[in-house]
Subunit: 196 residues, 2 copies
DNA sequence: TGCAAATGTTCTATAAAAGTTCTATTTTTG
DNA sequence: CAAAAATAGAACTTTTATAGAACATTTGCA
């Protein structure tokens, strides 16, 4: 497939995800800096090649079945947003794929307490973890202490071989443990907060 | 869904939230600058498409609660994790369903800058937004100022009708604007940070 | 119950929007 | 350097949204 066609396909896919209908030729053109007839030139070719399908009427472009495997776990990634600047597109990146959070050994926990607020992990947030029994220095881990207490902390190993579990909260003190008292239950993969 | 239909849906949603009943066709028309028959034209199509439902009588429009559950977008939700306590199960809740983040009108942005760090939204985080053009007091919104600058801020309306955009960062000052200078682009649905 | 007001529905004509075709020009490619 | 492809601009056709008016229905109230 030609690069332009791939770009057009991306625009269509995003628009379908974001608005539930295909964009118009002019809208595709706006997104890519092209005239609508130029878009039509490509779309026509893509319709002929079976890369695209269409229903009659406006906004009738469709993706052939199978194109959209992981669309059900993806969000259109429009760009970056910042203070004082327009939203800027992220080159080469057009979707936020939630399926990458999934996989064998992945599980979720809801966070209780404020021990990680300085790391931006708040009470009530969800964290996605990957099951592991070893951790690297600096990882945020779910750890079980003395087979009794579970906690989410930043993991560090001292030169003397001790395990340090660091809360990310200025009001709380680091915890020292002998390695055999600490069982890693998983390492942090992602953090999610729902607002509505 | 066509853009006009999305607008109508937004008006209905807002009215339901504000008044507890659906708006009349004329009220929807007033909100969008359309005649009631034009609204009816769209509403009829939306009823046929299942985007809307209705009870007999006036103000009978309802939003269908079609929440598709897809197991492939879910993570096992093991429980809560806290400092000093074992992981405790969450009663009646056994999955973190990521598909609830998806849907028409939802899109993602990557955050740039530190204006929302006190709300736990960091540079590089992803935010999921729902496209709306009105916001409620206290919502975190993506707003376009003077059709030029896009920004993620907490939204508030002063008693004098001015719009306040509040950074969640002690080092930054609130921004005051006349309402017509601010265009809401979406309201915050979720925040996601990836660690690996 | 019967009436008036409010709301919802249907009809038609028209303006606007979207898609298509044509040709000329620019850019790319072998 | 020539051929092919991509693009822009304009003209054109088709589709759709919209307004305006008329008509039908529901609701509230006397």
């Amino acid at each position: 497939m030609h690069p332009r066609q791939a770009e057009i396909l991306t625009v269509i896919r995003n628009h379908l995800q974001a608005h539930g209908c295909s964009p118009t030729l002019a809208e595709i053109g706006d997104a890519l800096g092209l005239e609508k007839n130029t878009v039509h030139y490509h779309v026509k070719a893509m319709l002929g090649a079976g890369i695209l399908e269409r229903s009659p009427g406006w906004r009738g472009l469709r993706l052939p079945q199978g194109d959209d495997e992981d669309a059900s776990t993806s969000l259109p990634l429009v760009g970056r947003i910042a203070a004082g600047r327009p939203i800027e597109a992220i080159p080469g990146r057009d979707a936020l794929d939630l399926s990458t959070l999934l996989g064998p050994g992945r599980y979720a926990l809801q966070v209780k307490g404020d021990s990680m607020i300085d790391a931006g992990i708040f009470d009530g947030d969800y964290v996605v973890l990957e099951h592991r029994d070893v951790a690297q220095d600096g990882d945020i881990v779910a750890a079980l202490i003395d087979d009794e207490e579970a906690t989410l902390k930043r993991f560090r190993r001292t030169t003397s071989g001790e395990v340090l579990l660091l809360p990310e909260n200025a009001d709380m003190a680091p915890l020292h443990y002998a390695p055999e008292r600490v069982r890693i239950q998983g390492v942090l993969v992602a953090q999610l907060r729902r607002y509505r």
